[in-house]
Symmetry: C2
Subunit: 291 residues, 2 copies
C-alpha cells in the first residue's frame, strides 16, 4: 500500500498498527520510532519494524505515511520535530482520542503539501506499552477520521483503506463533533471510573481489602477502565476540557436528582430512571461493529 510508513509512539496502539503493517504487508519499509530508549530496546526484541529508532526527526524522511501514536499532549512537540523532514505530499496522521486540539497542535508546523488526516481508532485495552499490542486489536472496531477542509479526498481514502486492511470500519466526522461524542462515550466514563476507584482507594485499609474482595458486585468493571494509561488520560482531559466539563455538568445534575430521590424515598422516580436505560443497552448489543 505504501512505500514507507513511520509510526511514532510505540505503545499499545502504535505497536498494534506496526503488527498489522507487518502481518498484512501494508508497507515496503516500516519505521518504528519512540523517544524512549527503553521502548526502542523492546521494539528491537519484538522485531516490530524494519528500522527502530529514537531519532524522531530522521524517522520520517521519505515516509509516505507518518502516524503519530503519542499521548495527545505530546502531538505538537513531535510535529514540530518532524515537520521539516516530511517529504512533499506525505500524509501525516495520528491516533489521538481528541481531535480539535491535536489538529491545532499539528497544523502550524505543517507547510502546504503535507496532507493532515487525523484519525482515531476506537479500540484499546487496559494494558500499555509495545508488548501489549496485537494484530486483532482493530478488528470490527470503528476508526473515526476527521479530515480538514483542505485535506485531499484521496489522502482520506488512502488512510481509510489502510485502516480497513487492519480490520477497522471507517466513520468520517467533523473534529468538533468527534470531541463531543467521545466526551460522552469515553472521556466522561473514564473520569467517573477513575473517580470511584479513587474514592475506594481512600477508604481505610480493612474496608479497602473488602472492596477488592467483593468487587464482582459492580465495582470491578470500573477498575478495568481506571487501569488505563494515566499519561494518555491526563492529556485527554486537558485537551478536551470544554466538552468534558459540559457533559460532566449534565451528569452531576442527574446524579443530584438521583441523590434527592434516594433521600426522599421517591421509589417511582428511581424505578422510572432505572427502566429507561435498558433500551440503550439493547441497541448496543444489537449492533455489529464495535462490540
Amino acid at each position: 500500500m505504501f512505500g514507507k510508513v513511520t509510526i511514532i509512539g510505540m505503545g499499545l496502539i502504535g505497536s498494534s498498527i506496526a503488527r498489522n503493517v507487518l502481518a498484512h504487508k501494508l508497507a515496503k519499509t516500516l519505521v518504528v520510532a519512540d523517544a524512549s530508549e527503553e521502548v526502542c530496546k523492546k521494539l528491537v526484541e519484538l522485531e516490530l519494524g524494519n528500522i527502530v529508532t529514537d531519532e524522531l526527526a530522521l524517522s520520517v524522511e521519505d515516509a509516505d505515511l507518518v502516524i503519530l501514536a503519542v499521548p495527545v499532549g505530546a502531538m505538537g512537540k513531535v510535529a514540530k520535530i518532524i515537520a521539516p523532514n516530511l517529504k512533499q505530499g506525505a500524509i501525516l496522521s495520528d491516533t489521538g482520542s481528541v481531535k480539535v486540539s491535536v489538529i491545532d497542535q499539528i497544523k502550524p508546523f505543517c507547510r502546504s503539501g503535507i496532507e493532515i488526516v487525523p484519525a482515531h481508532p476506537i479500540a484499546g485495552t487496559e494494558f500499555s506499552g509495545p508488548e501489549s499490542g496485537f494484530v486483532e486489536l482493530f478488528e470490527k472496531k470503528w476508526c473515526i477520521i476527521t479530515p480538514l477542509p483542505e485535506t485531499d479526498v484521496r489522502s482520506v481514502e488512502k488512510v481509510s483503506e489502510f485502516w480497513e486492511k487492519m480490520g477497522a470500519v471507517i466513520n468520517i466526522m467533523e473534529p468538533e463533533h468527534h470531541d463531543l461524542v467521545l466526551g460522552i462515550t469515553s472521556h466522561l466514563p473514564h473520569l467517573i471510573a477513575y473517580t470511584i476507584v479513587g474514592t475506594a482507594d481512600e477508604l481505610s485499609d480493612d474496608i479497602k481489602s473488602e472492596v477488592i474482595q467483593f468487587s464482582a458486585s459492580g465495582f470491578r468493571g470500573f477498575t478495568r477502565i481506571a487501569a488505563s494509561d494515566p499519561t494518555m488520560w491526563r492529556d485527554i482531559f486537558l485537551n478536551n476540557k470544554d466538552a468534558v466539563l459540559e457533559i460532566l455538568q449534565r451528569f452531576t445534575e442527574d446524579l443530584t436528582a438521583m441523590q434527592k430521590a434516594i433521600r426522599k424515598g421517591d421509589g417511582d422516580y428511581l424505578y422510572e430512571s432505572f427502566s429507561k436505560t435498558r433500551a440503550i443497552r439493547k441497541a448496543i448489543i444489537e449492533q455489529d461493529v464495535g462490540n
Copy 2:
C-alpha cells in the same frame, strides 16, 4: 441435604438456586413459589421444581429451608404471609442485596424457633426472570451470610453447606458491615451507571445514536450494569439509603475535585489520581474467588 426446600421469588437468583437444588439433589422435595401467575406458568414449562405454586402461604408448609429471593422491598410483605405456616425449627433465609433492612422487615413476623439466616450471593447478570437462571451462576462466587446474635450456629452451618454445594464461597459478616461494603462495591457503581446512561438517554436523538454506535470507548460497560432489574435496584437504594448517601457524598467530593483540576488544567493532580487506581485493579485480578 434437606427434606423440603421452598424458594419464593423465581427470578434470576431464585431460579438459579432451584436449578442447583435439582442438579445436585439438595432436597427431597423442591417447592418453587411466585406471586405471579405468569411466572408460575413458565416454571411449569421449565420444570424447575416438584411443586409450582402461587400460594405463598401454603408453599412453606413443612419446609426445612425457605429462601426468599424476592426484591428487598417485598421481604416484609412475604414474611408476613408465610410466617404463620413455617414449621418449628424451619430455617428462613433470603438472598437480598441489603441485610439490615431485610432483617428488620422479617424479624417481627418470626416467632421463636424460626431460624433466621440472612444470606447474599454476590452473583448476577443483567438478565431477569426464571428463564435467565443457570446452574453455574454461583460457581466460585461469594455468598455473604449475616447471622443474627440469636441464630443457632448449626443453622448457619447448614445454610453455608447448602451454598457451598452450589459452588459458592462463604463469608460471614455483621449485617451493618455488609451494607456498608456493598454500598461501596455494588450500590454506588450501579447508581452511577444508571445515572450516566440516563444522562446519555436525554441527549438529542442524533447524538444518542452516535453514543450507541461508539459505545465501545468506555460507555458500554456502564450500560450492562444499567440494564439490571429496575425493581430490585429501586428497592436496594430505598433500603440502604444511609450507606449509599454517605458513600455518594464522598464520591461527589472527589468528582468535584477532578472537575476543578480539569478546569484549572492541573495535569499533575490528574496524573497522580489516574496512577494510584491501578493498584486496586491489580489486586482484583489476582484473586481467585469472585472473578
